[in-house]
């Protein structure tokens, strides 16, 4: 397939994934703001912006961290080129660019998703309907993924779809973990001590992991098990390990199809070695923040190597 089209597919699914994860993050933030005092709420909204990398841009337009302002900025503000609406718009533009590489079902899901969110986000979202809007975002992204899963050939294009999805998801999970841990665990001595369950519940909710965690840990809240689930458990679909298994598999499919490996495969193997076989203790010894920062930059390097190896741009 064309390099330009591979690029379009890869990014189309990154945008869809990012939009969905952003909605999840806002939902968790909103829940936090509802259950805690105003100070904690402000801190929570600020951390949402930090996680999304939109704090500076936001501050250029607002002096406060009121929930309504943050949500409006993140969801639909024209001043924010990373807004959820703009993510969906870009996904749709990419779908048009790749129109002949995707099925009619996928095109319709993305096109309808964009049109319905455009209408839904045409005006500021009132707090009472915030949850409706956030679930609509998750639903539209889920529909696009479902249409992809159910209608697309498992060919080269599909590998780029999956690589985009999981490169983005791994990045998002690492960022959420990094920001939250940093905020919640100012010092290492907190690891292993009983925690403020509300705060940790929030981390899990941001990644739709609360149910999986409860099921595995019977309600015990501790940093160690949470980190284990979100980083190392390859059964949990938003964990770093799960994302890497998927990326490895799809890079392997491409290598089989093309009959050769390249620099992206080498980098992926390297990145993988930093993750598989590790224990939580090991990671905490290194320092979680350092581990996550390195993970994020290594993940970016893999994505760039994919772009270069498969001639996305030149």
């Amino acid at each position: 397939m064309l390099g330009r089209v591979a690029n379009g597919m890869f990014w189309m699914y990154r945008y869809l994934e990012r939009a969905e994860n952003t909605a999840r993050l806002l939902a968790a933030g909103h829940r936090m703001a509802l259950t805690k005092g105003a100070d904690i709420a402000d801190e929570e909204w600020r951390s949402v912006l930090t996680t999304l990398g939109q704090l500076q841009q936001y501050k250029a337009h607002h002096d406060d961290f009121a929930g309504a302002h943050v949500c409006d900025f993140v969801l639909r503000s024209k001043a924010n080129d990373q807004s959820v609406l703009s993510m969906f718009e870009r996904a749709r533009t990419n779908a048009r660019t790749c129109r002949s590489a995707i099925t009619a079902e996928v095109w319709e899901a993305v096109n309808e998703g964009y049109m319905s969110l455009r209408d839904l986000l045409a005006r500021p979202v009132r707090e009472a309907s915030l949850n409706v809007a956030l679930s609509a975002i998750r639903r539209e992204s889920t529909l696009a993924r479902g249409a992809t899963h159910g209608s697309m050939m498992r060919n080269e294009g599909y590998s780029f779809v999956r690589l985009g999805t999981f490169a983005e998801r791994a990045d998002n999970t690492a960022r959420i973990l990094d920001v939250k841990y940093y905020l919640l665990l100012p010092s290492l001595s907190y690891v292993g001590t009983p925690l403020d369950t509300g705060q940790w519940d929030n981390v899990l909710r941001s990644l739709s992991g609360e149910r999986a965690y409860r099921w595995l840990n019977a309600g015990r809240m501790e940093a160690r098990s949470i980190a284990e689930l979100l980083i190392l458990d390859d059964r949990f679909p938003r964990s770093l390990a799960f994302c890497y298994t998927a990326m490895r598999d799809n890079l392997a499919s491409l290598a089989r199809l093309h009959g050769r490996e390249g620099p992206a495969h080498d980098l992926m193997r390297e990145a993988d070695q930093r993750l598989t076989g590790r224990t939580v203790e090991d990671i905490f010894d290194q320092g979680l923040h350092q581990f996550l920062t390195e993970f994020i930059s290594r993940n970016q390097a893999v994505a760039s190597a994919i772009a270069e190896q498969y001639r996305f741009n030149a």
């Binding site: 397939m1 390099g3 330009r4 048009r96 129109r99 009619a104 319709e108 093309h258 001639r311």
Partner: protein
């Protein structure tokens, strides 16, 4: 022109239903009107969801607009169609021979049948094509012949589109929409299928591949990109043919071949169905500012190592001054009288004709010779005195830039409106494929319809709509 002169395709002047529409009309009278109203809205949401949109230049905020679809089909009998195809085939054969002659010995000019100035002043004429024969000898791989009807047996050619005829995706999607909306209708009325057009196009293009191509030639559709008004169609055709949809930035000339950048490196293309204009095709040969084309592609082309469809330089035939000579052109190359007549045309370059045109502006349609899409024309009967006076100045300043035609009583076909069926003017653009294996015409084509009462402008860029076009299998 009075209402009595108009030919309505569904109803005869006495109110009876014509043969072509008899079965459809029977079905229609059985349908519940509230249900039909719902269907009318269903059609629009169907089109919007599937993304069949049309971008209109010069309209902000209307980047993607739907071409209105009317759910009453335009119907032609099998007998009428057989007659039409003979005329279309003759005309297209002549067009292709004419192109070859224009870029070789120019016998038609030597014989005195066509004035030389006509193509010397024509911007679409390309000196780069002189003496070169495209692979398979085919110039006009895809042609759209615009027909209008004025009576039971009177079909006239209004325009030839030998450059890049568009609209075929609407022909296909209109049929899909009709079959999805009214499946039972198609079991009652036997209609000749159009859905195999993309397969026929792929076959026809493949048959024109250059000698260096492998047994399975690689076909690609070259689009200017997603902001082009016909992008949907480009993507649609590539998808339906199983061809790559490429942009100029994907292509490069390497080792004397046109190659596309794939995830596994550059791979050669044998046939390029290009939907970018000649001028943008090769910045080294034509417009140096173009980023839509491929630097050096003309050298590869002239070396016979890629097929470009349609061939560069075929736009000469779209010129309306050339059009006025089509009866002579058909006769010259086929040795036969034209089966399909032209619309009467005055060439304003000719002083006597100009005099006549100036004296009759309020009743004529005046067009620019290089114009298309319904832009830059005067429709006398519906123009104000001021508009006519302004156009007269333009005409006097550059008479050779214009031709004039009588205001035709185009046939009407009913459209669905809130208050029931109402007649509107229609034309028909059949799509014709040319390859060394022959000429292939898909039954039907695109019917364009003027949605405003009394309007004669059917162009989609000017608010026209489309209809499914049926050729009966009888």
């Amino acid at each position: 022109m009075s209402a009595g002169d108009l030919f309505d395709e569904m109803h005869a002047p006495d109110g009876s239903v014509r043969d072509a529409y008899r079965l459809y009309h029977n079905w229609l009278t059985e349908q519940d009107s509230a249900w039909m109203r719902r269907k009318h809205f269903e059609a629009e949401s169907f089109f919007r969801r599937t993304g069949i949109t049309f971008n209109v230049y010069g309209e902000e905020d209307a980047e993607e607009r739907l071409i209105p679809f009317d759910m009453v089909p335009r119907i032609i009998t099998g007998g009428e169609w057989r007659k039409l195809t003979r005329g279309i085939e003759q005309r297209v054969r002549a067009l292709n021979a004419f192109m070859h002659d224009l870029y070789h010995r120019q016998e038609i000019i030597r014989s005195g049948r066509l004035p030389e100035r006509l193509f010397r002043n024509n911007k679409a004429w390309l000196p780069e094509m002189v003496g070169f024969t495209p692979p398979g000898g085919v110039y006009t791989h895809i042609v759209g012949i615009d027909l209008v009807r004025t009576g039971p047996d009177e079909f006239l050619v209004l325009e030839d589109n030998a450059r890049t005829p568009s609209g075929v995706s609407y022909m296909l999607e209109n049929r899909e929409t009709m079959m999805a909306m009214f499946p039972e209708l198609f079991s009652r009325v036997k209609v000749q299928p159009v859905s195999n057009y993309p397969r026929r196009l792929a076959k026809s293009l493949t048959a024109c591949a250059p000698p260096c191509a492998s047994a399975n030639p690689t076909v690609a559709v070259l689009t200017p990109g997603i902001y082009n008004s016909a992008y949907f169609e480009h993507a649609f055709l590539a998808d339906q043919m199983g061809a790559e949809l490429v942009e100029g930035s994907d292509l490069r000339v390497i080792d004397g071949r046109v190659q596309m950048r794939t995830t596994q490196g550059f791979q050669p293309i044998d046939v390029l169905y290009r939907r970018v204009d000649d001028d943008f095709l090769d910045p080294l040969t034509f417009n140096p500012e173009s980023v839509l084309g491929v630097p050096g592609i003309m050298d590869v082309y002239r070396a016979g190592r890629v097929t470009i469809a349609n061939a560069p330089g075929t736009g000469v035939a779209d010129d309306k001054a050339i059009y006025s000579f089509m009866p002579e052109i058909v006769e010259f190359y086929t040795g036969e009288k034209p089966l399909l007549p032209n619309v009467q045309t005055w060439r304003c370059a000719d002083p006597d004709s100009l005099k006549y045109v100036l004296a009759h502006l309020p009743e004529l349609v005046v067009k620019e010779v290089h114009g298309s899409g319904g832009y830059g024309m005067l429709i006398g009967p519906t123009s104000t005195r001021k508009e006519i006076a302004e156009f007269r100045e333009k005409l006097l300043a550059r008479p050779d830039n214009y031709i004039a035609q009588p205001t035709l009583s185009l046939s009407t076909c009913p459209i669905y409106t809130r208050s029931g069926l109402a007649p509107r003017h229609v034309d028909l653009r059949p799509f014709v494929l040319v390859s060394p294996e022959g000429i292939d015409i898909t039954p039907g084509g695109l019917t364009r319809v003027a949605l405003k009462k009394g309007s004669l402008v059917v162009n989609s860029s000017q608010g026209g709509g489309t209809k499914d076009s049926w050729v009966l299998d009888d």
